[in-house]
Symmetry: none
Subunit: 408 residues, 2 copies
Amino acid sequence: MSAEIVCVGTEMLLGQITNTNARDLSESLASIGVDVYRHTVVGDNPKRIQQALRDALARSEAVLVTGGLGPTPDDITSEAVAAVLGRRLVRDERLVRVIRGVFEDLGRAMPETNLKQADLPEGAVPIEPQGTAPGYYIETNENAIFVLPGVPWEMKGMMDKAVLPALVRRFGAAATVSHEVLVVGLGESLTHQRISDLVEAQSNPTIAYLAGRGQVRVRITAKAPDEDAARALIDPVEKELRARLGDAVVPGEGSFAARFGAMLEERGETVGVAESLTGGLIGAELAEAPGASSYFKGAVVCYSTESKAAVVGVPEDLLHRHGPVSRAAAAALAEGAARVFGATLGLSATGVAGPKPQDELDPGTIFVGAHRAGATEVRRIGARGDRTHIRSWAVTAAIDLGRRMIQE
Amino acid sequence: MSAEIVCVGTEMLLGQITNTNARDLSESLASIGVDVYRHTVVGDNPKRIQQALRDALARSEAVLVTGGLGPTPDDITSEAVAAVLGRRLVRDERLVRVIRGVFEDLGRAMPETNLKQADLPEGAVPIEPQGTAPGYYIETNENAIFVLPGVPWEMKGMMDKAVLPALVRRFGAAATVSHEVLVVGLGESLTHQRISDLVEAQSNPTIAYLAGRGQVRVRITAKAPDEDAARALIDPVEKELRARLGDAVVPGEGSFAARFGAMLEERGETVGVAESLTGGLIGAELAEAPGASSYFKGAVVCYSTESKAAVVGVPEDLLHRHGPVSRAAAAALAEGAARVFGATLGLSATGVAGPKPQDELDPGTIFVGAHRAGATEVRRIGARGDRTHIRSWAVTAAIDLGRRMIQE
């Protein structure tokens, strides 16, 4: 069964907001095995909304529409749906009472303009409002069309309560199961070289990657009549992938920092950080997971050379001899981080975020360090991109050096 | 002039990533007065990419395409563009050398598969790679088509350096000038109350807001035959807005942190930070601006209670008496931050990020502190939302307390 998503709202075309609804709907649809073939965004314009709806209904069995159901004159999605299906808009008196009730509960008078939200195309099945806007769906011989408000939490509530059950009822549903293998420290091209024959040979499960910030997420997705059968298709492929990618595969679930945190917790390790070019991002990443306080002791952001000496205890003469961006500085920072926070593992990052070179080193020159049980390792990396990109790269590299050290 | 955006990538249709490129491109296009009429997302499928391109070229003078330019077999955007325009793909030998150079700089061998990224439709003008993927554009009598990588930072770099100048060259551009007034510490509802009559009365310039993280960006946008005329429309409106919003308006340009940094630099002040629930985000925000090292000394992320005592020198008995999330702790952290880093201004944040309460304090309870010239101020804030939201709110509140202290 194929579906597409049409989102209505000029604010998206002006770049004022990001279209998160298309992502959230797509993820829900994938969970019941529905293939989404297209997302379309159009503005609050009757002709363009109707054109987008007509095209979508001609191509796809299920069409999900969001946005344009509010009480203002811009909100014209229902008019467009009615026009495309050749139906009238009819006021639903039960919905009028529901909407009045919502305002009564809020202790506010209902503006008369809100009554418009009870006008649905003839034959539509209403979906209870989560906020004040009802949604609805219409089934024809060819299509099922679902019309939902654009406010994300209202849309999501209706998706779970009404849309997914209706889709399963109409089209049945096979199980789609995905599993993600996280690869860090190998790069996209090398990851590809090692597994490209598998990627090309596979059709169920499929293998896809998503790369960024020095991380590659390899996603294996299988379709089968039920979840167990889907997992049975994934398992041998995943095993083969893991064997080929070796220690670049990070065990666990979730984000890289969450997996690293779980590894620390399991092993009873704690971590302290001394970071320079990353300005606090390594700490922020480690502190992201709920419960991080059990393994994350703290971080020092030593942005000035003096603070590297004063707060982390890196000898000033070492900084003068080797420079603050150097192998020696990264090592001393990692050792200082472990000492200052009384952590079993110390991590560090120093480098040139750019845009200008520093001490004759190009932007993107990064040294990351890790110190544990008397041993210190440093790695040099040449990253490309803007400041944000270089700093994210350094965050991944520093955590990965620590990850490899505790995994050994 | 009308434009539309076509984004290619199955990962968006599976709901694995959010399409931020369409938003970023739309915002850039709006800045030069280009109207965007549609966003389309299709997967890595030759037929559907070609269909989307054909439809877009028939409707719009400018079409911007992102994604599918990588080195893997999934990456088939250039094949689709060539097919739709009826052109061959031709290897660009200069680009081959550029791509080889990128890998040499990284100290890595170039996989042969990457050569494919130098194959462009005949007649295309290459755009220099930001990472390893080049972009390009093709002009015909009817259309200009721009093809950019899907990686956001690569796409953005090319947009600024090559796409906007080419669009202005081809289509001219009436001047659209925007100026942004940044409001911090007042809230969206209060900001709205003070200026809503202006917003409703204005059509050129228009006034729009974007709120989030305790900041409201009020954007005034004028269209006129040239820039001077547009600015002349903006000036009186901006003056009136500033008068009504008072000291909640942050002077300067760019992000809140960049404005704060410029204020510090002008006044010869330096800043040190001691942060807890924000895990490094205050430091990361202050370090964001190029040149931040002249005023940002460093930060301590004291995630554990011990580190608040050991690294920042907050007396342990104070922490036991008042708790680590308290007015007293925020004050002592701000004082410690100034002392430890030898900075003129110390900032601090401590609080409960959630999801669980801590020491009987609800998630969202935040204390921020600022210390300067012997005086310390603390502010208590009740933020709502998830961990990410609560932490961003704390970052803004801490910087704003410092901003108000040095502005007095």
